[in-house]
Point group: C2
DNA sequence: GTCTATAATCGGATAGAC
DNA sequence: GTCTATCCGATTATAGAC
């Protein structure tokens, strides 16, 4: 509160405005889905004239695709944290931890994904059938190897991954419900870290053999 | 293909039409959310003239509220399957099983709930802060009692319920993703039953003490 | 390069015919 | 009781001024 120059929240550079539109679009798409989102609301949150949005992104769908691409990129980053060379306990804990951190750091991205799936994944469908399917197949092979080696209990790896995805993404997608159940306040960092530790512990206990 | 009379799918009674509108609305709200849903699409799926919809339900919001009420009722039914008088293993298994069956039997209801939470729960917010909060508080007490008795490992009950909700509802909300990863086909009954058994087993192993 | 004014369409809701 | 015709505001997108 001293000699800091007052920085206008409204961006003045082209890059800054594109970024502002992009972030505004993310929040609106996450909240209302593709169909429910309006360019007017996006422009309002980006603090630009409504019509001007079309100068930076030609159509609402182009903007949505740009936003979606970005979400997929982030997903792939988290996916790479599953290290097949590590032992199962370490690899699974690291992956769950990365997914939890991702849900915490970028809940909006997770919600865009959820909303896209809810309407039948018309845009990311290809990604699901190719990249995501390849990823889970290769990870299933690793999990099966660990099961054969007696390092994990017998199970269907795919349903285990569904549990991990469901549980971690829940902390982003259902944040509103958690807030309502938490006296109207978002989870504190301490609460979140406790939740993360418990999710890792419960899922590990659930798949590691008893005597380890 | 014998002497069966051809039954028109379009209902002719008032009750039948209300039911048709209601079901059509459920599917459209689940797919596009409240904002993205259009009365035109609902009327189309209900096979009635668009404007006629307003004769049965005065406004889009009134229709949405009717649909939402119904979802809450179904949720309360599943909640009642958590039997505090049983032993933890039984009570938890029964509750998870009931939630899985619910996701399978009524995925649309689950998706309406998810979509409502995504936009900040403006309609069911009250329910979350009252009925749902009461429910989870009373169940937390039971879980804590079981932990003290050494029947469950130490943990925060709330995060365990979040895991159950996340995992079970995932089978409804992310069905589109599962279909894409399953060669374009929905999970068969056999696959679903296997998934259900595994979810119950993993979560139970995750919270039951080792030596039981 | 940016914004104002506006076209074209869509969507929720109603009036009034049948 | 049911449906047709239609109003009016909202929404996407563009044309053209500045």
């Amino acid at each position: 509160m001293a000699s800091e120059p007052i920085r206008l929240s409204r961006s003045t550079t082209r890059e800054g405005r594109e970024k502002a539109i992009f972030e505004a679009a993310r929040s609106v798409f996450a909240e209302f889905g593709f169909k429910g989102a309006t360019t007017a609301e996006i422009a309002k949150r980006a603090e630009i004239p409504k019509a001007n949005l079309h100068y930076y992104f030609p159509t609402k769908e182009a903007l949505y695709r740009a936003v979606t691409e970005d979400v997929l990129t982030a997903w792939l980053e988290a996916a790479s944290s599953f290290d097949e060379s590590a032992d199962p306990q370490e690899a699974i804990a690291a992956y769950i931890g990365a997914k939890m951190d991702m849900a915490r750091a970028d809940p909006i991205g997770s919600r865009i994904w959820a909303s896209e799936i809810l309407r039948g994944a018309p845009v990311i469908g290809d990604f699901l059938e190719t990249t995501l399917l390849d990823w889970i197949k290769s990870r299933e092979t690793i999990i099966r190897r660990w099961i054969k080696a007696g390092k994990l209990v017998p199970m269907e790896p795919r349903y285990f991954f569904y549990m991990i995805w469901a549980t971690t993404q829940h902390y982003a997608d259902f944040e509103g419900q958690m807030v309502a159940l938490n006296g109207g306040k978002p989870l504190s960092n301490a609460q979140f870290e406790k939740a993360k530790a418990q999710v890792i512990e419960t899922l590990l206990r659930g798949v590691l053999p008893a005597e380890t």
